[in-house]
Each structure stands twice: as C-alpha cells, then as structure tokens.
C-alpha cells in the first residue's frame, strides 16, 4: 500500500512542490515511480505531459521517502466548460501498475484560472 502526504496542494510557478511517500508490504522486486504530470480533462481526447520523475528502486517492504519538484512556469492550471488542465502528483508501483495520486494547482497566486463563458458573447482566457 502506498500513500502520499503533502502539506499543501496549491503552488505558484517556481515554488517547490514537496511531500512524503509512505509504503507498506512491498515486494523486493517492486519499483516505485513518482511523477509530476499535467493532463487535460474534458469531452474530447486527453492530452498529458510527464514533467519530472523520481524512481525508488528495490524499496524495503515498509518505508518512506520525501520527494521534491520545482513547480513549472507553464502551463497554468485552468478550468472551463470545455476543458480543464490539471496538475497531478502520481505514484505508481511499476510491478502491478497500482497508482495513487493527488491533484495540484499550479498557477499565479496558487489559484486555478477559471475560463468564464458568457452565453451571448463567448470570451476565452488565453
């Protein structure tokens, strides 16, 4: 079993994203990968990018490890009716592909940008 602990989930670009991974009952040949990714959510095909990765090879059965990434400057977290861009920390046990994750916000002031669509005059934020 793997868990992710983070003190905060909202960041400004350039901030340090850090947290702690705890695991129990892992096998000797397991390998854990911690990833900072972004992905899009919406009606159509999804897009995503893996921005940074840390690996834990041959972990002890029970243990913990801190991780640290720099929050990228782009793209910012945003959300509209048609599409959202979401940042995520995900931890994958590469042996059985089980995954734990936490969604983050990376944007100016640490606040997700909302795309406001007016019914009669559509205006999108770029």
């Amino acid at each position: 079993m793997i868990t992710i602990e983070m003190e905060r989930l909202a960041f400004e670009p350039g901030n340090t994203i850090q947290g702690l991974i705890r695991w129990t009952d892992l096998k000797s040949d397991d390998r854990i990968e911690i990833r900072l990714i972004w992905y899009t959510a919406g009606k159509g095909d999804r897009d995503f990018g893996v921005v940074a990765t840390e690996s834990i090879d041959s972990p002890t059965p029970n243990g913990n490890q801190t991780f640290r990434f720099a929050a990228p400057f782009y793209p910012h977290s945003f959300s509209g009716q048609l599409i959202s861009l979401i940042w995520r920390i995900e931890v994958i046990n590469m042996s059985d592909l089980s995954t734990e994750f936490l969604d983050l916000v990376i944007a100016p002031d640490g606040v997700e940008i909302l795309l406001h669509a007016k019914r009669d005059n559509l205006a999108l934020d770029i």
Partner: protein, 212 residues
C-alpha cells in the same frame, strides 16, 4: 491580440470540465463489464484459445477499453510487458502497410499482438497476419465484425449496461438522468461513448448549474 477576460471571481456557467462526471478521464476510468465471468475466468478462456481471438462489437461498445485492460492483465499475470505489442491500426493505407511489417516482425519474436481496429486492414493483410500467427506468436484484435479469428468477447451494449455504468459514475438513483441517458442511447443507436458525450454537454450546460 486575443481578447481575454480572466476573472477568478466570476462563476462559470454549468460546471467546469474538471468536475463534469462525463469527462473523458472519468469515462475512461470505468472498468469493462463482462456479461459473464470475471478477469480470472476470461483469462483462462483466452489461454485455452492459445491467446488467439477477437473482441467483436459495434462502435462505442467498449472494445478498446477491454483491449487496454487486457494489456495490463497480460503484463501482470501472463508475460513480461515487453512481450506485448499494442497497436492502433492507422487510418492511412501507407502507414498500415508499414504497421503490417512491424507486426509481422513482432509475431516472429513470439510477442503477443494486441491490435485495435483490425477491420482497417485489407482482407489480404488480415489473412497474412492470421496465417503468420499460426506458426508463431499470439494475436487478439478488436473488430466490428467477425474476422476469421475465434470470438473471445462479444460486446453487446444495452440499456442495463448503460445503467450500470451510470451507477459507477456516481448516479445510481437519478431517474431523470437515466431517462435522458436512455433517449440519447437510442438516438446514438447504442453507442455508449457518444451517449456519454451527449451527457457531458447536458451536464455542462444545465445539470452542473443546478447542482452548483
């Protein structure tokens, strides 16, 4: 210069894509529903078939979902991940010809081929792969119609399955939603993927607004 109107205080109309329960990332997370048995029994059956079979069904019935899940199940229970070759058959004939060569090479390396959209290959190309397989590796494909490979799973979308999936998306007892989903389902001729896309629009413009 593009006109912008960033306003972090204004509410969005309906709900955002992130919170829409019918967004692609929610729908793709739904597990395939077997009509009979579970993964263990279905893998046993596929093993008895020599890992040679087809997933047959109309568009939007879950064939690709099942094939992607099979890829993970094979990697966990049957073989090393690098022994599996997954391929979406290309839309263009030139790329398909190159894909065919690549897949034949994978078969000769004793890999398990998982091919999504097998019907896009020509009759001759499909025959080449089927004949090649007989002497070497294994092959599981998705296709709209029977293709000369034994049928492993027949996908038959129906209103009960749609209801089950709506329940998994977090709407187990929403009668008005079920009624609307049923109308979209029949309008889309049983295409569950398109039905969910219609529900996405409905939720984004009306339902989400009611619930926000």
């Amino acid at each position: 210069m593009s006109r912008t109107s960033i306003d972090r205080n204004l509410p969005t109309i309906g709900c955002t894509a992130r919170n829409n329960p019918f967004a692609t990332h929610c729908v793709e997370a739904l597990a395939f529903q077997f009509a009979d048995g579970d993964w263990q029994s279905q893998l046993t059956r596929l093993r008895q078939m020599g890992f040679r079979g087809s997933i047959v069904g109309p568009q939007g019935s879950g064939k690709t979902t099942l094939l992607l899940e099979l890829k993970d199940q094979l990697a966990i229970n049957v073989c090393e991940p690098d022994q599996i070759e997954f391929s979406f058959v290309s839309q263009t004939s030139k790329e398909r010809a190159n894909q065919l060569l690549h897949l034949e090479a994978a078969l000769s390396r004793q890999q398990i081929l998982l091919i999504d959209g097998f019907e896009r290959f020509s009759w001759g190309q499909r025959r080449r792969l089927r004949k090649r397989r007989k002497s070497t590796g294994s092959i599981v494909v998705t296709t709209h119609r029977r293709c000369g490979l034994p049928v492993w799973v027949q996908c038959d979308p129906n209103i009960q399955l749609l209801g089950k999936l709506l329940g998994q998306l977090g709407h187990p007892h929403d009668e008005s939603l079920y009624k609307l989903a049923g109308e979209y389902f029949f309008h889309r001729k049983g295409n569950i993927r398109e039905t969910f896309r219609d529900l996405y629009d409905e939720w984004g413009t009306h339902r989400g607004q009611q619930s926000s």
